[in-house]
């Protein structure tokens, strides 16, 4: 559908929040904890913060939780009973305050979960999510959405995208999908007709720093480059980058048994860990950190576009912000583009 452009007063956002609560929506929005901005279930509008460039973690947990019991079993006299996840038990979620680089990530993640096998649990969870995006009027040194095809006012992935028209101004609401229209119908009176609005002039300028297609082309002959070792010397080998990333989708399956009952749990995993590729024989095809770092970049900028026609990076900069060793992915991608071999 074509986007329907409306205006919502700054003071009306709280009223919208209340209307959604009245419609039994679970609202997940950015909130402050331990000095970090995280997505949390918000019961009151006052818990939501609007003063942030980006949340520490991505919103991927709404469809791909860090730890998810995918089935439970129990053994009794009659035999075995197995229970999976019932879609009816999944709440209707409104994701509030998502930045465009996060909203677009949901599509990239979806591409992975629907590559060959259609991941029913992921798809069911996602079907219950409505994304309220908020454009960016601020950016920092880590942001690079424009280098990977995005922009600070990108509508892709959002059901409604709000853009604040100047500091303390009202908001332009671009209603982009059926799900978005449904939200509007819950508080129709708050959405006024928008006159002519030049949205772009209220967006932050994020300069283009590299070309993702050039990086992709370079990577086709870059596998043996010494650059990987050089870049990854300071990498400590943790999984912070993968866990805050909106498109990292690797997981591990664990069985937790307690006597006659138990459960099967899907847990996040990361290609940054040496254990990730360790074989039963003791052989590890990615023995050292440089090979793991190479995998991370190759996967996002070569394998994903080749196989899924999407890049695995939204330019949100979270991995660089979260990195305890200040591995700055933007710098590394620029050096790959500029490398002569």
């Amino acid at each position: 559908m074509n986007s329907d452009r409306r205006l919502i007063r700054k003071d009306s956002l709280e009223k919208l929040f209340k209307a959604l609560k009245q419609n039994n929506k679970t609202i997940i929005g950015p909130a402050l904890q331990n000095g970090k901005i995280s997505y949390k279930i918000s019961n009151n509008y006052s818990e939501i913060t609007s003063d942030y460039i980006q949340t520490t973690q991505s919103s991927k947990e709404i469809a791909f939780p860090r730890t998810e019991k995918i089935l439970a079993y129990s053994k009794n006299a009659e035999g075995m009973s197995v229970k999976g996840i019932d879609i009816k038990d999944i709440p209707e979620i409104v994701l509030w305050g998502v930045r465009p680089c996060d909203a677009i990530g949901i599509g990239e993640l979806s591409a992975i979960f629907n590559w060959d096998y259609k991941d029913e649990i992921f798809n069911n969870r996602l079907s219950k999510v409505t994304v309220l995006g908020f454009s960016c009027s601020k950016a920092d040194e880590y942001c690079f959405c424009t280098s990977v095809g995005g922009n600070p006012g990108n509508t892709e992935g959002s059901d409604i995208l709000f853009t604040q028209l100047g500091e303390n101004g009202d908001y332009l609401a671009e209603i982009l999908t059926e799900k978005g229209s449904l939200i509007v119908s819950m508080a129709e009176a708050l959405f006024e007709r928008a006159g002519k609005v030049e949205k772009e002039k209220f967006l932050v300028d994020v300069p283009v720093r590299f070309n993702h297609e050039d990086v992709r082309n370079k990577l086709t002959t870059f596998f043996e480059s010494g650059e990987w070792v050089q870049q990854s010397l300071k990498c400590l080998g943790c999984g912070a980058c993968a866990y805050v990333c909106p498109t990292c989708a690797c997981f591990d399956i664990q069985d937790e048994a307690h006597g006659k009952s138990g459960s099967r749990v899907r847990c996040w995993d990361s290609c940054g860990f040496s254990l990730f590729t360790l074989h039963t024989s003791g052989h590890n095809p990615r023995e050292v950190q440089s090979q793991r770092w190479r995998q991370r970049i190759m996967h996002k900028f070569s394998y994903m576009p080749d196989r899924l026609s999407v890049f695995g990076c939204t330019g949100c900069g979270r991995c660089s912000r979260a990195c305890p060793a200040d591995m700055n992915i933007l710098e590394h991608l620029i050096s790959i583009q500029e490398a002569t071999v």
Binding site: Q33, N34, G35, K36, S38, T56, Q57, R66, T67, D140, E141, Y142, V229, S232, L233, K234, L236, G237, C238, G239, A240, A242, Y243, V244, D252, Q254, E256, V265, C267, W268, S270, F273, S274, L275, V288, Q289, S290, S320, R321, A322, P324, A325, D326, N328, E331
Partner: protein, 266 residues
């Protein structure tokens, strides 16, 4: 800073070391590790109050130590970590040279690790006031409140293991959490999995942790997990007469004496 660059340059020119590990400017006014292998690159080395990362974590890293003899820019916490690593046979005089930085930010030359040890022993490990107050507050909580405090604080943990990766003492090739036959610690980052991981981590660091706060600084979610190791330091002081890393040391967790107190056994 000029002294540091000059010395690093001399060492590389004379091939006395293969790599100088130090700090360089990073993103948004942060600093980060740099591995200088050419004399002409020593100009990138910096040192100032922003340089808080514990560089000792790199000394046991495969791709770094394989370069050959290392020199490292080392503040007091880094030097303490180096001495502890030396006592655990992870570094020695043949593979490491310490470019010390005194608490007054002066470059100090050490002939060998024994000299580093003497310098380290001039200073006691003191837990800072803010954390001491927090620990006292936790101690005074009734058991159930303390339990809830930790369950709540550890709940955000998604087990990225940045705390482990940034800790100079967590150099094990395969960590206890990486074992699955048998599996000691539940992998999922649910309540039990998180609790067991953090307790295990803290206990493995008892009598080894040098209180550098690398774990806390590395945590992307700012979980105050250093309170656990700080508490271990206090216990080491109260029950075992204190802790100071030493090259030839009796390790607190692996030494038994017939007259050891047993008052901690419930």
């Amino acid at each position: 800073m000029d002294d540091l660059r000059k010395r690093a340059k001399e060492l590389l020119e004379a091939s006395a070391v293969k790599v100088v590990i130090g700090y360089e400017n990073g993103t948004e006014n942060k600093t980060r590790a740099i591995f200088v292998e050419k004399p002409e690159d020593t100009g990138k080395l910096i040192f100032d109050s922003r340089c808080i990362m514990n560089l000792a974590s790199y000394l046991t890293k495969h791709e770094v130590k394989n370069k050959g003899k290392m020199a490292v820019t080392a503040t007091l916490p880094v030097m303490r970590a180096i001495i502890q690593l030396a006592s655990e046979f992870q570094v020695n005089d043949s593979n490491l040279l310490v470019l010390g930085i005194t608490p007054e930010s002066k470059l100090i030359e050490f002939k060998d690790l024994a000299e580093v040890e003497s310098f380290v022993h001039k200073y006691q490990i003191e837990i800072d006031v803010r954390n001491k107050e927090m620990l006292d507050k936790i101690d005074k909580m009734p058991a159930s409140e303390r339990w809830n405090f930790w369950i709540k604080e550890l709940a955000p943990c998604f087990k990225c293991y940045a705390c482990r990766a940034a800790c100079p003492m967590c150099y094990c090739h395969r960590c206890t959490v990486d074992f699955n036959q048998p599996q000691w610690i539940p992998v999922p980052s649910h309540e039990l999995g998180n609790l067991e991981w953090h307790i295990m981590r803290a206990v493995h660091l008892a009598g080894r942790c040098v209180d550098c706060d690398a774990c806390y600084n590395a945590c992307p979610l700012a979980i105050p997990l250093n309170l656990l190791t700080k508490r271990m330091l206090i216990d080491a002081k109260e029950h075992f007469g204190g802790y100071q890393p030493a090259i030839k040391a009796e390790h607190l967790m692996s030494t038994y004496k017939p007259d050891d107190k047993e008052n901690f056994i419930l």
